[in-house]
Symmetry: C2
Subunit: 537 residues, 2 copies
């Protein structure tokens, strides 16, 4: 048992992004660096203050003394008499180019699809669902030989389901994901198991039991029995999760109609009502406008709706707590409706490229005042890393100018007065700072926790990661020995991945190198609500 | 000193791609798996034979006995009497999902730009050159206080240049790159140092001193003094490299006009003649049609030429040993000319996305009979990994159908008879197997070594890597302990990166998981010409 302490004091460099103002078109977000100390209460895991002057040893000591703090790991250093407040100090090493960064928020990930990471062939959305996705998800059902009972408990799920879910939580934590909005499967016990695993491992999570009752679209081996079943099974997972975490401190349920084609109208209606039963209303997540064939199918299935977004709106599923994944092919009318409802968008660039869905016009969405975060969309997306999602967001934004939607249909910036600009070449590109905004504060806003997560503001929750880039390479010594002694020159690579620093980089350039060359090796430690939940082995 | 042996016998699983036939449009290449033993001569590093029956211990022993081989590490096992042929056995572990794979070939990489990996902001080609590239490359000049002398030797280069080049070679080897076609800088000592470092560390390399003498385009601080200087300084590096490696076993010079805008007509003419002086003619590398502004500039600078490709053709720089990097915006006429000359193309998808250049239509190039390989294009490309280039090649090919060039201009498949098909939706997508073909056999053909490199054919050189995916996760044990004991559940990640195997994967799916989730952690060992040049630390 660790020694109790009132605060953890984090020392070193802190990097975060600025908030995005409400004005439209929106200014670009930027990276901000602070150095000094920041303290987090052990009682509630929230940031209680910071001191950006306390950079050197003397001013840090002065901070400790001023607050009457004693370092639990070095009590002798300031005369421990039992009346001081005990604190734990965690240092980000300057020499190793370490810094604290807000935890990543994955606003769209399918946990049961994790075994399929990297398996998608040359398929597109609709055949991918049938070939890869429904078969793997169907394996999360309760065991046939299960003894009778409620069949809602994690232990009723197949062991393989628990093992896979455990690995998903482990992997995403190791990549710095402190909060994830998960799609599970239709199965109640396994869905509840995912909630229990997140709760136990300490990952903040929204857990959605997937609803899919349309027999015309869903395969017979993997579907809800009826619209009523969709709603009642969902209610069952909500009850389990509310019992597991009554205040929703860490884990919350989220209403999850898979997407319009998998759901009957009664199911959509029932789920909209179910979300509204609670106070505050429950979160909702689904997919929208990922693929052109999907858009055509929705038009055919819901002829009474004006457009895809309107299908959800009709059933009260388009709320300020709704996460819409993809949004690649939205019309201006749909974007307008989404903005009016303040529904949120999860941008999943790795998935949209992998399945050939297209490129979501993120700048247009942001400029029009829509809230956007990032999703890995495992396993449409091939990586559980939000850093990879940030990279892909930057890359595809640079290809947007070559797409038909951008060049022909014209993704224009619409001002408040309704006046539309011609496309501004280059403005569509997302910077590293902006993609990191999407990965942190953007994601926080998508899960309706913009005041709690995504940055290091006073009062926010300490969901954070310690990033280590490694030390700068010494360029002063020439490797002439290699030239003369090839025999001894077997290559050694560094302990912390692929980021190479040569000493001339500004701090902003170090962040760029992290985004473009970094991986989980650079994630040294991860905290959620102040609790250490991952430490690099 | 290691004990001498006549052969190395590699045992286990071998994966490679099929060759691409000459027919047009070309059939798709596929992955092939063999299991058994393959042996490489210590004398010349070439594959002397294989036995795909020798899978189990008994048949392997029988193979050893039949050939009169004795394992140098276990001589007692078959009665060592001094007359047997001594061999070293290297095993790829089945339990750890290890396999041998041909070494990667990077057909386009700028070694001096390595410190800029990840630094490109939102720039496009022409401003990127000015802002990021020319400044870093100019630092590779000889030191001002250098004592007099030839000023051509590696030791005359700045220590920082040697250190950076050494790191480039180390990093690329650690990612499995056994052969690279390097652009260096204009500086002779540093260019020669790069050759010496590759030779010493054992990486197969083409080393190009960059030629850029056009004062209207090149900055005054970084350019050749004249066209004569371009040619004579290039000749100087050729002489150094030919002295270093007289037979060109490992390292060869390559004529390198940077690209048309940086070169005057006399320089292009002189370089074309210089390449033709040798027998066989020297390799040539340059850039073509990367960016639309660049294409417009070339049209303006060379009004007498019919198109960009024709600029090079006029000066005998479009040969069957020419590597053209990028080729994003080629016209059908240019593709036709390139095919007639049998010049080769280096596809650099990471770079083309990062700099917003566009998407090269690889399937069209292949179908028309043009030879294509992959390039990282560090640091237009943000990664020194050809595996990352393979991933990006797959991804951008899936976005090609959304681009203006594909949908509007229509990338059609032109048959031998001149008949052009309508674009076939989906055919443009590259599979994992095809991207690995580009990374190995395709690259080998690009550097005009298709009979020597890129596969495990008898007689080929053993440029290879040992890939370890790690063992399969045991799904039979449920992690219920995590559910009940969160305190002990700090996450541990595996030793070999991000590939997660669950036991249900076919061998092809394991390769897909490697491509989509793998990195340098999966590269356990690398050989060039039979010599171990990298071993994971």
């Amino acid at each position: 048992m660790a020694q109790a302490f009132a605060y953890t004091v984090y020392r070193g460099t802190f990097i975060q992004t600025t908030r995005l103002p409400d004005s439209t078109p929106r200014p670009k977000t930027e990276l901000v660096r602070n150095r000094g100390a920041l303290w987090v209460s052990s009682a509630d895991g929230r940031i209680k203050g910071f001191d950006w002057q306390a950079r050197d040893e003397a001013s840090f000591k002065e901070l400790m003394t001023r607050n009457g703090w004693v370092d639990v790991d070095a009590p002798e250093t300031n005369g421990y008499d039992g009346n001081e407040v005990r604190v734990k100090v965690v240092l980000a090493s300057e020499e190793s180019n370490e810094f604290f960064f807000p935890g990543f928020i994955d606003t769209h990930i399918h946990a049961p699809q994790f075994p399929n990471v990297g398996l998608f062939g040359s398929s597109t959305l609709l055949d991918w669902l049938e070939t890869y996705t429904f078969p793997v998800e169907s394996g999360f059902g309760a065991q046939a030989d299960q003894p009778g009972g409620a069949d809602t408990l994690p232990k009723d799920a197949p062991p393989s389901a628990l093992r896979i879910y455990d690995q998903v939580v482990a992997r995403t934590l190791s990549h710095g994901t402190t909060c994830a909005s998960y799609f599970a499967t239709v199965h109640v016990p396994a869905t509840n198991a995912l909630a229990a695993l997140c709760h136990s491992r300490g990952q903040r999570a929204f857990i959605g039991r997937v609803c899919m009752d349309n027999p015309d679209f869903c395969p017979p081996y993997y579907k809800d029995l009826s619209a009523d079943d969709s709603v009642s099974a969902t209610r069952s997972t909500i009850e389990y999760i509310h019992a597991l975490d009554p205040k929703g401190t860490l884990v919350k349920p989220i209403i999850t109609p898979r997407f319009a084609p998998t759901c009957t109208r009664p199911a959509l209606e029932g789920l909209g009502k179910l979300a509204a039963e609670f106070n505050p209303p429950l979160h909702i997540q689904t997919h929208i406008s990922e693929n052109t064939n999907e858009c055509a199918l929705v038009k055919e299935l819901f002829p009474e709706s004006e457009n895809y977004a309107d299908v959800y709106d009709r059933y009260n599923l388009l709320t300020k707590r709704t996460i819409l994944a993809h949004a690649v092919h939205l019309t201006p009318d749909e974007r307008n409706l989404i903005r009016q409802r303040d529904a949120k968008i999860s941008h999943c660039p790795a998935s949209n490229s992998a399945l050939g869905s297209g490129i979501a016009p993120v700048r247009t969405l942001l400029d029009e005042g829509i809230t956007v975060g990032l999703g890995t969309d495992v396993s449409g997306g091939y990586s559980p890393s939000i850093l990879e999602a940030a990279r892909q967001a930057c890359l595809v934004s640079r290809l947007l100018g070559h797409t038909t939607s951008f060049c022909q249909k014209g993704e224009k910036h619409v001002h408040e007065n309704g006046h539309a600009d011609k496309p501004t070449i280059g403005r569509e590109k997302l910077s590293v700072g902006e993609s990191l905004y999407l990965a942190t504060r953007g994601g926080a806003a998508v899960v309706d926790m913009a005041d709690d997560l995504g940055g290091f503001d006073e009062g926010m929750i300490w969901d954070a990661q310690l990033i280590e880039l490694g030390s700068v390479r010494d360029l002063s010594e020439s490797p002439l020995d290699v030239l003369t002694d090839g025999a001894s020159s077997l290559v050694k690579t560094g302990p912390v991945g692929n980021v190479d620093l040569f000493g001339s980089e500004t701090w902003e350039e170090k962040i760029q190198k992290w985004v473009w060359s970094g991986d989980d090796r650079n994630v040294k430690a991860v905290w959620v609500a102040g609790r250490l939940v991952h430490s690099r082995s």
